[in-house]
């Protein structure tokens, strides 16, 4: 057990994987200097420039090359800096990485972990603040992972490297400095959620940074005598239906909250599933469908706050006919 931050945790997992498996390589911009968030610190010194590969600013080719590496036997970890720049490599991710195994009838497969830091990045405006997990969940072939703690960033990165599928690995742009205990022996299963705060009245399903916001909300609601159960999905695809449905059966009320835009966000998938399969009352809380603004008062409109989560939970507890559609 060691105390380290979220960046260091991923670095540690990666280093272990690179030591035990020659096929693992890192590819991306600025990785030789440790990556802009320090998530590759020391790796090029340890493994050399042929395994920690500095690249030109060529996102299409970073991701496309990773597909070729994987088809020819390597296991690339792809650095995309932020999910927003991965939009320059979407053909390679969606048309190639996700589909290659299928199109070629299983002759090859694309074991890769593409790291696409996700979420609102303070003060960096619309082109650096997107949360796109719903997109990747929609694409057959892709696994989608969103760790929220140092331990998960350690364990889930290892699990992602081991799974053999193309994984869209969505670290949060602002969790890099988050400190926590990391037990290197602790493994995680892809597809397994964690109940991070048990509760009776309302289930709150969330992931990534909003896990922490929801925990703050749990403290707030507790003061009002409302007990919320916070579930961190950790894996977006495949998401942990069993844990969510079981909690929904207990509480009868579910709020899904995420930093992504609410409209057509992944919360919709969960809410839709709950509607199809349970009688629970559901509600979503995501960002408004506006680009993220630069200035603080504008940016704040796109933030999920503990207060907003708490208010949404309270609303779910109102008697049914008092429901006020949020238009």
């Amino acid at each position: 057990m060691a105390r380290m931050n979220y960046a260091r945790a991923s670095c540690t997992a990666l280093e272990a994987a690179m030591r035990s498996d020659d096929r693992v390589v890192v590819v991306g911009e600025d990785v030789g200097r440790g990556g802009i968030f320090g998530q590759y610190r020391g790796l090029q010194q340890a493994f050399g420039g042929k395994r920690v590969i500095d690249t030109p600013i060529s996102e299409s080719t970073i991701l496309g090359a990773a597909v070729g590496m994987a088809l020819a036997g390597l296991q690339p970890v792809v650095e995309m800096r932020v999910v927003d720049f991965a939009l320059c490599a979407i053909d390679e991710l969606v048309n190639q990485a996700a589909k290659a195994r299928y199109m070629f009838g299983g002759q090859g497969r694309v074991a890769m972990v593409a790291r696409l830091p996700n979420g609102l990045w303070s003060g960096s405006a619309a082109q650096h603040s997107q949360s796109l997990e719903a997109w990747f969940a929609h694409i057959p072939g892709l696994v989608v992972v969103a760790p929220a703690t140092p331990q998960d960033n350690y364990s889930l990165l290892q699990a992602s490297l081991a799974c053999g599928d193309p994984v869209v690995y969505l670290e949060h742009k602002e969790l890099w400095g988050l400190e926590g205990d990391v037990d290197p022996a602790k493994s995680a299963q892809l597809g397994e959620a964690e109940i991070v705060h048990p509760g009776r009245d309302v289930t709150v399903v969330t992931w990534s940074r909003t896990r922490h916001t929801a925990l703050e909300a749990a403290a707030l609601t507790e003061q009002q005598g409302v007990s919320i159960e916070v579930i961190d999905l950790r894996t977006i695809w495949p998401w942990d239906r069993d844990t969510v449905l079981a909690s929904a059966a207990r509480t009868g009320r579910v709020l899904i909250t995420h930093e992504a835009v609410q409209v057509a966000g992944f919360g919709a998938e969960i809410a839709a599933t709950l509607a199809e399969e349970t009688d629970a009352r559901v509600r979503r809380l995501g960002a408004p469908r506006i680009p993220v603004g630069y200035s603080m008062p504008l940016e704040d409109e796109s933030r999920i706050t503990p207060q907003a989560i708490s208010a949404a939970c309270t609303k779910l507890l109102e008697p049914r006919n008092a429901r006020n559609p949020h238009r």
């Binding site: 390679e92 048309n95 070629f104 009838g105 994984v167």
Partner: protein
Amino acid sequence: MNKAVRDVELALALALYRTMARIRAFEDAAEEASKGGVAAFGASLSEAKVRGPLHLSTGQEAVAAGVCAHLKKSDLLTSTHRGHGHTIAKGAALDRMMCELFGRAPGYNGGKGGSMHIADFSVGMLGANGVVAAGIPIAVGAAHALRARGGSDVVACFFGDGAINRGPFLEGLNWAAVHALPILFVCEDNRWAATTASDATTAGAGALARAEAIGVPGAQVDGNDVFAVWEAAGRLLAEVRKGDGPRLLHAITYRVKGHVSVDAAAYRDAVKHDKELERDPLVIAAQRIATRDQLEAIGREAREEVAAALKIAHEAPWPEAKAAYTDVQDTGAGRWRG
């Protein structure tokens, strides 16, 4: 030149011719089997055996044959939407290819890919691709993998003249040069991109000039002369195998058919088109090989091989519906609708 050398040369010439003849026979048969098979270009979908867009490499056989004659099984290859010729020249079996085009279970991809995704990983053919230029970055990555495993294996990366106007051409060549990767880039310049003449949308002196400016030297060659292609590709590949870094071969050829098999290509000038047809690479090669009987035999054998492949494909079983759910992903397998 002594007799032994001449025999070797003849054997080589015949081998190149045979590859071309097999490609030609395959393309002719695929074309026939595709009639009415694409819901575009005004045609409607019918009961064609080969469905969907079928891009024929008829008339471009010399490029595939001349380049791939230098490749070993352990070398890798990435291709385009127009990939049958490369696949055949790299060593794939015609019957399993035809099965794939027919969408049958014994096809290389189990019917999942069809013509546009034809692949035979067992001979190092890493796949055709439905996205123009998408094979270039894939080749770059494959070359990293070859380097990691050591040895002198190379990647041959084919793309069309239209592809040199897409970003991955620049990105991939620059990257390959920066890392001195073992790749032979082959620009198969048939002078058309779908319904548009490439010169109308391409500025500057062309693929080779662009490559040179990005630090990738190479050569330009008559792509309908299989011996010229063979010679130039051999020279460049020797440099690539030595570790000198990537090279580009710019092979000028001609797209004999429409963009897809059901495209009549009425947008082309008929007179010019007929003139181009006179430069059939098989005819050009035949003129330089003395033994006419052998050529005829090779042509006949190729057609027989394709006929056998067709028969196999006609009779081959369809994939079962449940095969639609394999090869997707391991993590979360079974979660198809939620």
